[in-house]
Symmetry: C2
Subunit: 351 residues, 2 copies
């Protein structure tokens, strides 16, 4: 993968800034230019939100999936969810997006000295509830404490493992020219819900986060379109725009979207206008993009819509041949524009 | 498991304090009274530093091991190591202590805004080097950034997975009366090495951390004493004393130690005296405790000593019948004393 960043990372004199955690261009550059050269291996190079990993034959064989997330959302409670359930949903989704049956979660907590135990209990309760609801137990954990002023209440790093059924291979690298791009519902809900709680930006809104575990939705999709689902990804940090750019880059294709087909709740649209945000770049925590063979697109869309978490699903575009790997969009007004990666930081600490 | 704490956790009015992260009695109480009731499941109840997990038969079967650690050591560099290699070693060791072949690692980074990229690169390089040296790749990761003053440079949460060879069952629950307690080397090196770097406690010392991946040492031990290794654990936070108390509690036994047999480097002994610490409670990052059947103890000890990471290994005690599950020690001076759990916080942010 070669992406031409404006200039290479200045490792000698540079410093970490908020954009390195925003999931857009700066995050990708940090990973490619600082992390990958030091950690390089074929699994990490897969470039998906989790890794597909062979179990050695003498230990039983099979294909493991592993995904990890550090969750630093602020504030810790937001309409529709909190850090606890988000930590479960986000990691289950990363494992599920590789087609794996999600089996187990681990959770590592970094607590700030002085944090109220009652609030910690509420977060752990929410995490436990989300895990039970999803049927994926938290099987091991760790708890560390840092001094007051060296953390921010609670951070949770979760890791998920699953096993891929034999013969299934879903990856961001598998999008093919002519494939159809499906989206499971409205975009921007999570990001706007979190932003609505930030003190510096408080505004009234009815929007709640879409945070949800998508593994049963994935299963419904795979059952309805066997062999036809090429790529799955949840558009979290960086939003739909960044996710589609990642896929275009990984698969070496272009993507052409229909703006009018992308579902956005009117309240989200309004809030984004107020905040100067583009909903295509706002994080989701309960939506997926599915890239499927054209002949299976109708069946796949019907399966998504038949599931409670996919009732607003839509066909939003197609995969095209494009050596520039651009994501382009036919606008509502009949024009066309390039939908680039998120550059810089739109929404800090959204997940 | 029932431990009589002095008083129950005051969840309503209590707050997180540094002792909750120190690995001793307060940590155990937080886990038992706040975390376990919310997350309860049989895997978490195993009570080891990792979990043994069945892979469903229709997905190939077998026995997975998963362990996770949040690493918040301060300072980030210390004699003999740094946060990067520590994050690899600590998690490999937790997986290895269940007898698993360690296969893969994930790493989630929480970076503080303003942290120098050059220092981050040094840490990631050390992490990558440690992973390559151990032969366990970091296959997936995540990077988040928090605002200046909401973190402390870099935190790393690592998770490891491995697979247990068929028929092997090693657990903190398996210590049997009459078993022999082996220790792979000197205690207290890591904790004293880190303390030597704290600005408020700076003193000159030659001590370097023992941080190391112990999976090959475990393998050597298992090969030398097949079927005879009942329990393995690395005495990290809380030190040897806390680890042995955990095992005694899990297995429902007592442990009787010989103080004179426990190897401690003279410089560590001297530094501990200066700081008012007991080396039995100081963290190690490259040592293991093995509880083995008496008839295999000589072979097991010889195997430990033949390995570069076990050259100072010693037989330090035996497992006894004791309904109070006490760890007791015959002192150098002919007396006997109870070696209790670490209570409160001896060394903050040691790993």
């Amino acid at each position: 993968m070669t992406t031409a960043y404006t200039r290479p990372l200045d490792i000698k004199r540079g410093r970490v800034d908020m954009s390195h955690g925003a999931g857009g261009k700066a995050s990708a550059q940090l990973i490619e230019e600082l992390f990958l050269p030091e950690l390089d291996n074929p699994f990490l190079r897969q470039g998906d939100d989790g890794a597909r990993l062979p179990i050695p034959a003498d230990l039983g064989g099979g294909q493991l999936v592993m995904a990890t997330d550090a969750h630093v959302v602020s504030p810790l409670w937001f309409p529709g969810g909190d850090l606890g359930c988000l930590a479960v949903h986000g990691t289950i989704n990363d494992v599920a997006m590789l087609g794996a049956r999600v089996l187990y979660l681990s959770a590592a907590f970094i607590l700030e000295e002085g944090y109220p135990l009652a609030d910690l209990q509420r977060l752990v309760r929410s995490l436990g509830h989300a895990a039970r609801e999803a049927g994926v137990p938290v099987v091991t954990g760790d708890t560390k404490v840092v001094e007051r002023g060296k953390g921010d209440g609670v951070f949770i790093a979760t890791t998920g493992v699953g096993v891929v059924p034999f013969g299934l291979h879903i990856s961001g690298r598998n999008a093919r020219v002519g494939d159809v791009v499906l989206l499971s519902g409205t975009v921007g809900d999570h990001g706007v819900a979190v932003m609505s709680q930030r003190e510096s930006l408080s505004f009234e809104t009815q929007i709640v986060s879409d945070t949800a575990a998508l593994h049963t939705l994935v299963q419904a999709l795979l059952d309805a379109a066997p062999g036809a689902v090429h790529t799955l990804r949840d558009p979290t940090r960086g939003g739909l725009a960044t996710t589609l750019n990642e896929i275009a880059r990984q698969s070496g294709v272009g993507i052409r979207l229909q703006e009018a087909a992308i579902p956005v709740k009117p309240q989200v649209e309004a809030a984004c206008e107020l905040l100067g945000l583009d909903p295509l770049y706002v994080a989701n925590e309960g939506k997926l993009v599915a890239i499927v063979a054209a002949e299976a697109a109708d069946a796949a869309l019907a399966a998504l819509r038949a599931h409670p978490l996919g009732c607003d699903a839509a066909r939003i575009g197609v995969v095209t041949e494009d050596r520039h790997r651009f994501v382009q969009m036919d606008t509502r007004f009949g024009g066309r524009r390039v939908v680039d990666w998120l550059s810089g930081e739109q929404l800090p600490r959204i997940c």
